[in-house]
């Protein structure tokens, strides 16, 4: 009897009445929906950003149409009537983006390979903070450096700087190319002794030729006079260092995602480490690296302070079109620079054109983000499928 009573008491303690259960459920649901509301706040903000930027951008196209904005390079917004041709400005943005990508992509991918496959863990620990510090330095500090240190240096010693950069950067690769080419050309010869003689001959001939090339181009570069230190090259260099951390960390993730088995298979077939990486790991990680490149490029395209301070802010397409030593102007710098004056005349085309530029930037970043996200998801699927 007594035992039974205790048991019933126990079960009572654990049985929850129907009413209490409903309350619990309601509270749980309410809590979850509050959490959901807060989490979806981000989506709401994204929608708001699109709406509010578009709301102020559309009037511009209503007033002025599309043709002038995209095809003319006459940018005189303060005139009456103003001219709003943004072609040169868009071209400037494109120029610094491509310029910085040309520096940052090879360096970033090489560094990522080095971090994921080559360096031992103990050294990697010290290399990673370097990249993090580079990412942490505020853009305005980079801009200040570009304006106050790099620009005067380029103006005074531009020619010698270009020459040394050419020598230091190109000579190792040229040397390598000479070795590889002379090896490949002599590979077909059967007789070992003749082959070696020819190999050495080719090495000397190509070597002399490349030294001549280095010297000739070097002297041409030495004579170059950079008229303004605030130019597209300056900005491209600085932007590439700002894009590097993104490229390195995202492509390192992509490289790590390629499993050990692929690498070991390649090693087992007798490939060297370089061959394994180039022929096996990189193709497998290529889409992830592409995503990294897209993200890095976006960083350069959306950067404001560096280009505002150090690009020269001159709205024209350089002559010839690939001349990186001329001053240029970008979308971001135009928005930052002109808003202060245009804000006082809210409602005018001068104000709305800046929002049109902002919308353009926003759309480009949105699309490239979506693309890179898709790419990463696809890579993950493919790799897990294998």
């Amino acid at each position: 009897m007594a035992e039974e009573k205790v048991e019933s008491n126990r079960t009572n303690a654990f049985v929850v009445s129907a009413r209490k259960r409903t309350i619990q459920n309601v509270v749980k649901r309410a809590g979850e929906s509050v959490l959901f509301a807060i989490a979806s706040f981000v989506a709401v903000i994204v929608l708001f950003i699109f709406y509010f930027v578009a709301r102020d951008a559309i009037p511009f196209f209503q007033i002025r149409g599309f043709t002038e904005f995209f095809t003319s390079s006459n940018w005189y917004p303060a005139d009456d009537p103003g001219q709003f041709g943004a072609l040169a400005i868009m071209y400037g943005s494109l120029m610094v983006t491509i310029g910085s990508a040309m520096i940052a992509v090879p360096m970033g991918v090489a560094a990522a390979i080095c971090l994921s496959d080559i360096l031992p863990f103990s050294i990697r620990q010290y290399a990673k903070p370097i990249i993090e510090m580079l990412a942490a330095i505020p853009s305005v500090a980079f801009g200040f450096f570009a304006l106050v240190v790099l620009a005067p240096l380029m103006q005074d010693k531009g020619g010698p700087m270009l020459m040394w950069a050419w020598w230091i950067l190109v000579s190792p690769f040229l040397l390598l190319a000479v070795i590889v080419v002379s090896d490949l050309l002599t590979a077909a010869i059967k007789d070992e002794k003749r082959r070696q003689q020819l190999h050495i001959l080719l090495l000397i001939v190509f070597g002399l030729f490349s030294v001549l090339l280095l010297y000739k181009v070097g002297t041409v570069l030495y004579g170059v006079q950079i008229l303004t230190g605030t130019n597209a090259l300056n900005v491209s260099i600085i932007l590439s260092f700002m894009a590097l951390p993104t490229i390195v960390s995202v492509s390192e993730d992509a490289l790590q995602a390629v499993g050990r088995d692929l690498r070991e298979g390649s090693y087992a077939l007798g490939a060297t480490r370089a061959e394994t990486i180039i022929k096996t790991v990189l193709p497998a990680a290529s889409s992830g690296i592409l995503a990294a490149v897209i993200l890095g490029i976006m960083r350069a395209l959306g950067e404001t302070m560096v280009v505002w301070m150090a690009s020269g802010n001159s709205s024209h397409i350089p002559e010839p079109w690939f001349n990186y030593l001329e001053a240029i102007r970008t979308l971001t710098a135009t928005i930052a620079g002109d808003m202060g004056e245009a804000d006082q005349v809210t409602g005018s085309a001068r104000f709305h054109v800046l929002f049109a530029m902002g919308l353009l930037l926003l759309l480009i970043s949105f699309i490239s983000n979506l693309v890179s996200e898709r790419i990463v998801i696809r890579q993950r699927k493919i790799l897990s499928g294998q």
Binding site: F36, F48, A136, I137, G143, V180, T272, M305, M309
Partner: protein, 448 residues
């Protein structure tokens, strides 16, 4: 390819990778070293007597009696200069007319240079702007001004092929034969006695307000503005970000809605910073009207939106890194899901979440573009905590841009600019460094 070439290729491949990391390290050094070495000069420098006068007049600081005796001794040496000036002015009156006009122009150049070096000369009207009330406060600038005084700079345009070159002509020579000629050797011998340079440590650079738009004084209003903006952004973004991360990791079910939210998060992370600024202007100021024009609160809200994705990602990672066993142990003890999250998972993930928070704080402090239209002004005094809802503030990041690119005498106040950049960079790097240390400790702890 023969095996030797393959080996060389393999080695050089390694070298390229290591080389690019070394280049990055060098780039970091090249950027940071001039900022640090020049930035320190804003606090530690060789100050002249003019600097000490300035501190006494503008900030009521320094030993007044000592200074008076110093001023007296410097005035003794300056008096002779002034005598020579009056002597020459008298001589000028006796000169032949064409000679007089020729010397008059040169003499006024000397006077201007002398004013720049020593401050207003006797008989001058007291200037309105503080920057003209004092001579050179820093010794290295005084040396430059002395050079301007001793040598006239001219430009050589004779060769049109190359850029024109600057060259210097001694003023002592052009005044040869007049009573002003001895002034120049006298100045170059006695300038130290007139300006009394001594090593100065000026902590006021960090704690003082600026005098006459950053010609003198410190950067306290900017530091405070940066602090308000960054902390305000954290105040909004941190709780929101952590809660959103809890939802994403614990409650969200895979599906269309969830992937939409994640896409939105990465989209927000990729929006260019200047677009945040435009959005802040169009939404917070023009539409919501949180304040009539630029204000700290509008800037902080804009920055909060900008750092939100970073915080969410960091918090998610930290929560996912909590070992599954913790959660299971808690659930097996009969606690509810919410209880488990609040008492087990969040405390375990807290260091990781804080790391993300600290890094975002650094990012909010360093960003410029979002606050250009929403919060930053170029000149202004430090604002009180009560004013954050209505008034804009100077901030380090914006004022670096402003002083370097838009200030009317940007080249003359390089030391202030470098000092500001150093202050900003050290705030941001210290925050990041502490995050790195924090993370290292966590990974050690998780390893056991």
């Amino acid at each position: 390819m023969n095996i030797g070439t393959r080996k060389i290729l393999d080695r050089s491949f390694t070298a390229v990778g290591i080389g690019s990391i070394i280049v990055m390290a060098i780039a970091l050094m090249i950027v940071v070293v001039p900022i640090v070495s020049n930035g320190i000069g804003a606090v530690f420098f060789t100050g002249t007597i003019e600097h000490r006068k300035l501190l006494r007049d503008e900030f009521k600081r320094g030993n007044s009696e000592n200074l008076d005796s110093e001023v007296a001794s410097s005035e003794r040496y300056r008096a002779k200069v002034y005598d020579m000036l009056t002597g020459f002015e008298a001589e000028l009156e006796t000169m032949a007319p064409e000679k007089k006009t020729q010397y008059k122009g040169k003499y006024s150049q000397v006077r201007t240079a002398l004013q720049a070096l020593l401050g207003p000369l006797p008989g001058d009207q007291m200037p309105m702007l503080t920057r003209f009330k004092y001579g050179q406060t820093r010794w290295e600038k005084a040396e430059e001004k002395l050079h301007d005084l001793l040598y006239e700079s001219k430009w050589d345009n004779s060769n049109t092929e190359v850029m024109s070159r600057e060259y210097f002509v001694s003023r002592a020579k052009s005044f040869e034969g007049t009573s002003l000629a001895p002034l120049f050797p006298y100045l170059s011998h006695n300038v130290e006695k007139m300006l009394l340079p001594e090593f100065t440590v000026y902590w006021g650079f960090i704690t003082d307000s600026s005098v006459d738009s950053h010609f003198f004084g410190g950067i306290w209003p900017e530091i405070q503005g940066t602090f308000f903006l960054a902390m305000g952004a954290m105040l909004f973004a941190f709780p929101l970000g952590v809660v959103a991360a809890v939802y994403f990791t614990e409650y969200a079910k895979p599906g269309f809605l969830n992937s939409m939210l994640r896409s939105a998060n990465s989209t927000l992370a990729g929006v260019p910073s200047i677009v945040f600024g435009m959005f802040g202007l169009a939404f917070f100021i023009n539409t919501l009207k949180v304040s009539p024009s630029k204000s700290v609160i509008a800037g902080a809200l804009t920055l909060a939106i900008m750092i939100l994705p970073t915080i969410i990602r960091a918090a998610e990672e930290a929560i996912l890194a909590v070992p599954k066993t913790y959660r299971e142990a808690s659930l097996s003890l009969g606690s509810t899901k919410w209880n488990t999250i609040a008492t087990v998972i969040l405390p375990a993930a807290l260091p990781g979440i804080l790391t993300g928070g600290v890094i975002s704080l650094g990012r909010a402090a360093g960003e410029t573009a979002p606050i250009i239209f929403t919060a930053a002004v170029s000149v202004g005094s430090a604002i009180g905590l009560a004013d954050v809802l209505s008034s804009p503030t100077p901030a380090l990041s914006w004022n670096i841009y402003n002083l370097a690119s838009e200030h009317e005498a940007a080249a003359q106040i390089r030391h202030v600019q470098y000092g500001m950049v150093l202050a900003l960079v050290s705030i941001v790097l210290l925050l990041n460094l502490s995050a790195i240390v924090l993370r290292a400790r966590i990974s050690k702890k998780l390893k056991g």
